[in-house]
């Protein structure tokens, strides 16, 4: 058990390890149905979020739709 130091949407975040992407979303209070997840620039599809383990220094992007033209 050790802390994982991540970059989430460009900001440093620390979460207790081991953790999956689904754990990270839970930690951040984000509904997985409302976001698309990129891990180190690769999209991780929703059904796999609970299978993909996070590693030290991982870069995660969480995106969604906002108003735009």
């Amino acid at each position: 058990m050790s802390d994982l130091h991540l970059q989430v949407n460009g900001d440093p975040r620390t979460v207790p390890g081991p953790a999956t992407l689904l754990d990270l979303l839970g930690h951040l209070g984000i509904d997985p149905r409302m976001v698309v997840v990129e891990l180190n620039r690769e999209i991780v599809r929703r059904p796999r979020l609970g299978e993909v383990s996070l590693g030290e220094g991982d870069q995660i992007e969480l995106v969604h739709f906002v108003g735009g033209g």
Binding site: V8, N9, G10, D11, L28, G29, I30, M34, V35, V36, E38, R41, I43, R45, R46, E61, L62, V63, H64, F65, V66, G67, G68, G69
Partner: protein
Amino acid sequence: MTDLIDTPLTVGGRTFTSRLLVGTGKYRNNQEMVAAIAASGAEVVTVAVRRVDLDRTKEEGVLYHLDPSRCFLLANTAGCYTADDAIRYARLAREAGFNEFIKLEVIGDRDTLLPDTDGLLTATRTLAAEGFKVMAYTNDDLIAALRLEEAGAVAVMPLASPIGSGLGLLNPYSIRSIKQRLTVPVLVDAGVGTASDACLTMEQGVDGILMNTAIAEAEDPVAMATAMRYAVEAGRLAFLAGRMPRREIAVPSSPARGMLG
């Protein structure tokens, strides 16, 4: 009324109820956005892909306010300045799971937000090969439009004038020439400021218009959305009706015969 005379708009195999497409940006609040979209009668509604704000998730996500079962969500790649960035955003948008359409923007200049046609062509080829239905925002340039069609775009979207400028239709001739030469739908995107701009644009014979700022920044967006709905229908009907020729001399409307002696 229009549907008695007109055929519906079909893009990339999908048929849409309205020739007016609207954006969801820059509204003063979400209630006003929802009411304006309803008043516009638009079915296609554009959205942007952005990072979730990790501190205030619930308020900014547009899907908390729009019902995806009642509108067709068209994601854009607004803000992208390279083909690679636009491709990345398009892939993220598709992963949200609504459809394979993307309104492709590759911007070439920060002051004018004019498109980078080289980047657009590169991104269109890549995305079309990946099964995307690319609707490409481009200049009012016939050659760029033809190349985008060849590259696999399902619709080409030339600008009326720069994004958010409200300058109206600057080059009706270019828009007409693009419409006359392309097989895929031509949807004018960006630049209209008020209802007469939309009407004049539709009178050029294009298949539809996408707008955002003209409605969102109007003093009363719901009233402007209503005006735009009628303007798009009026312009479309006027185009289908076929206007009278322009003449340099007057021709009386009342009979010359039968005047008093």
